[in-house]
């Protein structure tokens, strides 16, 4: 069984995000970039499945410019076997990514895709679901536990009133939640091996899908700054404020 893991290059979660002066987006100049944390969890899960003998190969895929290769090397250092960069300079939106990935899934005949539940830059949280739909595969999103045996995937997901367990037949798609696992640190020998693992570049144009943007970003702004708190006089005032100002009760 081949597992395909899409990985995205995003602003490092420890970096304080700054906006461009013209409000057109986030300033990425000289900013530290990393593998999307949920994707790292996805790679870890795939590698564990391989180590447990459930998978034969783990393939990491990233769509974007040449710089994505760094992200792919991170995935390789964590234990992925090989990598594919779908090369494009186009501004990629979730549907476009899903379409590109679909083409790769088919050409690789992967039977399981594990994605991060969302990328921490745009927080769209759509690629996994769209990809499953395009493939016509069952999907289990926000997984907090995954077990695979004999062509069946059993996935637990944390929902508001407890834990839901889904079972689906492969091929299937899973998206990872934060608590699925704790990714390992890449070991030095694996970092060095990553350099020698195969990394294939495929031109997005050769995959025959329309990836032109369909959404327009109008403006990007800072979230409103939090106002200072106040001390309420008594419970009545508290209730009043909760009801009429905060409108939470």
């Amino acid at each position: 069984m081949k597992i395909l893991v899409p990985v995205k290059r995003v602003i490092d979660p420890n970096v304080k995000v700054r906006l461009k002066n013209d409000g057109s987006g986030v300033d990425l100049d000289n900013v530290k970039m990393s593998i999307n944390p949920f994707d790292e969890i996805a790679v870890e899960e795939a590698v564990r499945l391989k180590e447990a003998g459930e998978a034969s190969e783990v393939i990491a895929v990233s769509c974007g410019g040449h710089v994505c290769q760094e992200t792919l090397r991170s995935a390789l250092a964590l234990g992925a076997d090989r990598a594919i960069q779908v090369e494009t300079d186009c501004d990629l939106q979730p549907l476009a990514v899903a379409k590109l990935l679909k083409a790769v899934v088919i050409s690789e005949s992967a039977s399981l895709v594990i994605c991060g539940k969302q990328a921490i830059d745009d927080d769209a949280g759509q690629v996994g679901q769209m990809l499953a739909a395009l493939l016509g595969w069952p999907q289990a999103t926000f997984a907090s536990n995954v077990a695979i045996s004999e062509g069946l995937a059993k996935v637990m997901r944390e929902i508001d009133d407890g834990v839901e367990t889904l079972e689906m037949r492969l091929p299937a798609l899973i998206t990872t939640d934060l608590r699925l696992n704790e990714p390992r640190y890449a070991s030095l020998p694996n970092i060095m091996k990553a350099k020698k693992k195969p990394l294939e570049v495929v031109a997005a144009a050769d995959l025959g899908v329309d990836i032109s943007p369909r959404l327009t970003v109008l403006k990007v702004t800072e979230p409103a700054t939090r106002k200072a708190g106040i001390l309420v006089e008594d419970v009545t005032q508290l209730l009043d404020k909760l009801k009429n100002e905060a409108k939470v009760i």
């Binding site: 090397r73 030095l188 990553a194 350099k195």
Partner: protein
């Protein structure tokens, strides 16, 4: 205390932009296959992650808790075992080790950065892998094939640790007088007896075995330093199949209660007829130790830098937020009760001094690391010999100057926090306490200065010094006028050092006391001049890019500060050097 963020940007700048190290790696056949810019980048990123997330958070509490001795066993603080295991499993203990025995063969230029991150996360923690790496180096260079195969793979893997047992109660700087003895046995092994003190990591609970390298004297050995041999003494004997056997008769009598690095076990070690094996030739043990000293001493220098870096990060974060007093002239934070203290000239002086010394130190230690790599990996004997001689003269400077500056910077970092700098919770006082030992062990800074002047400068009749001076002059001559604001004062500084060196060579002929009287200040003049060269190199790599990226603007600003405010220290130090030894001997011992 803010979280430690490894200064990756600056490390990258130093390696790639100032010294173009990846290009150098390509020219060295032995390295070109192991490492390139991308691999180096990936290694540094991962080292930053593991040290920042896994070790740095332990630093504060492990200082409170310290190590505990219990009936010969030593317990390290909570969290150390798990962190050590993660660190070892990642292969980091063997980062610079020999690939023939399971090491990773990385150049020192990379492992120096890894060491900085590790020590900045926790000096105490960093010592365990550091001592192991040092012991491995000695074994790999001098031990028999059999010993190497038996011990190195587990040590590089971090499953076994190492220790260096040199010091005895009456023999510290002067190791020639040690009393530990080694009796040859019929099977080719030795029985080692004696007591060593101050042994870092002599006993602990991080690994299943500890391999001690012990200095001892053979029967009828010549007196003094020419009669000392080096032995490998494992805590647990190792069976022929590699499994652990009997406990050897080596034990930890107690651990020291001390000023800093409290989470590093400093042990009294008893060897009671313990079984050991000779490493290298009989009576050449001190020489064997010295061949690896260059790596170790640079490593200790980097500890000084690491503490300074962590202190700086805390100090800057604090200075931006602490509101106190008003800026002279304009109000900066009109809506606040006061301005952030970063507006005050004196706070800026302290922060900039820290920044200039840290970044100068990072460039300098990387420069020395690159020379170590050239000496080890170059196939051109001329290049390798020159690099070796540069290493010889620069290593005592790196050890002593980086650690002396480490104390200065951590004290500034403490001062920036005012009263909070004195309070434990903020972490700044711990850095002062922790860094203090780096000036003392691995040869006190006084001994380093003697080594520099007596053995390296005078011992080579100025030849080693000339390599360095010539390189700087060549750099000045090949730099255009755009750089003259840096090269002009650099040229004056090198002329000053030249003059001081010639003067010292001359005076030492007449009176041997002149060497010891001049050495510490001379080393400092050397250090500031070397940093001036580093800052000129960094300015060159930044000039013209300052409007694209704040990083370069900040570099240039700091370079200007260094030349204007720190380099001039050489002139007062030089005056002290020139004053000679006379006034040191006006008092007799009773008059003190």
């Amino acid at each position: 205390m803010v979280d430690y963020q490894a200064p990756l940007r600056d490390m990258r700048f130093v390696l790639n932009e100032v010294f173009s190290v990846p290009r150098l790696w390509q020219t060295l056949q032995l390295l070109s296959d192991t490492v390139d810019e991308q691999t180096a980048e990936a290694i540094l990123e991962e080292a930053a992650k593991i040290t920042g997330n896994c070790i740095a958070p332990l630093n504060r509490m492990s200082d409170e808790e310290g190590c505990r001795w219990n009936d010969g066993m030593v317990l390290t603080p909570v969290g150390f075992r798990k962190a050590y295991q993660t660190y070892a499993e990642g292969g980091w203990v063997g980062v610079g080790g020999d690939p023939a025995y399971g090491g990773l063969g990385m150049p020192k230029a990379i492992s120096a950065q890894v060491e900085e991150m590790m020590h900045a996360s926790s000096l105490s923690f960093g010592l365990y892998p550091m001592l192991t790496a040092g012991a491995c180096l000695a074994i790999n260079t001098h031990a028999s094939e059999e010993l190497k195969q038996k011990y190195l793979p587990n040590m590089y893997a971090g499953t076994w640790a190492g220790s260096m047992c040199l010091t005895e109660a009456h023999a510290g700087s002067d190791l020639g007088t040690i009393r530990s003895r080694a009796e040859p046995q019929v099977d080719g092994s030795y029985e080692i007896s004696g007591t060593k003190i101050f042994i870092t990591g002599g006993e602990h609970d991080l690994t299943e075995n500890i391999i001690h390298l012990v200095l001892a004297k053979l029967p009828n050995a010549p007196a003094g330093s020419k009669g000392i041999s080096l032995f490998l003494v494992p805590k647990f004997l190792v069976n022929a199949d590699g499994s652990l056997g009997e406990r050897n008769t080596v034990s930890c009598g107690s651990i020291e209660d001390k000023m800093g690095i409290k989470a590093s076990a400093t042990c009294v070690m008893h060897f009671d007829g313990a079984t050991g094996w000779l490493v290298g030739e009989a009576n050449k043990g001190l020489a064997a130790m010295f061949t690896m000293m260059n790596y170790e001493r640079l490593g200790v220098g980097i500890q000084g830098l690491a503490a300074g870096e962590r202190s700086y990060q805390n100090a800057v974060a604090y200075a931006r937020e602490r509101l106190q007093g008003r800026a002279p002239g304009n109000l900066v934070a009109k809506d606040e009760i006061a301005d952030p203290i970063i507006v005050h000239p004196d706070v800026r002086r302290m922060l900039l001094t820290m920044k200039a010394l840290n970044e100068g130190g990072r460039a300098f230690s990387s420069y020395v690391a690159i020379q170590l790599d050239a000496a080890k990996f170059s196939e051109d004997p001329v290049v390798s010999k020159r690099a070796e001689e540069l290493v010889a003269i620069l290593t005592p400077v790196a050890k002593a100057f980086l650690t002396d500056m480490g104390l200065e910077t951590t004290i500034h970092g403490q001062q920036v926090l005012g009263g909070h700098g004195f309070i434990r919770e903020w972490g700044q006082e711990q850095l002062v306490r922790d860094v203090r030992i780096t000036q003392i062990y691995e040869g006190t800074n006084g001994i380093q200065a003697l080594d520099l002047v007596a053995r390296k400068v005078i011992g080579s009749d100025g030849a080693f010094y000339q390599h360095f001076a010539e390189e700087i002059i060549m750099f000045i001559d090949s730099s255009g006028s755009s750089l003259s604001e840096f090269t002009v004062p650099l040229k004056e500084a090198i002329a000053n050092l030249e003059n001081l060196t010639a003067d010292l060579l001359e005076r030492a002929k007449a009176d041997a006391n002149e060497i010891g009287a001049a050495s510490v200040e001379y080393l400092h003049v050397f250090g500031y001049t070397a940093y001036a060269y580093m800052w000129a190199l960094m300015a060159k790599a930044s000039l013209g890019k300052e409007s694209q990226d704040e990083f370069y603007a900040s570099k240039l600003g700091t370079a200007r500060f260094y030349f204007a405010r720190l380099l001039p220290r050489i002139y007062s130090l030089s005056a002290s050097v020139k004053a000679g030894s006379e006034t040191l001997y006006l008092l007799n011992a009773e008059q003190f």
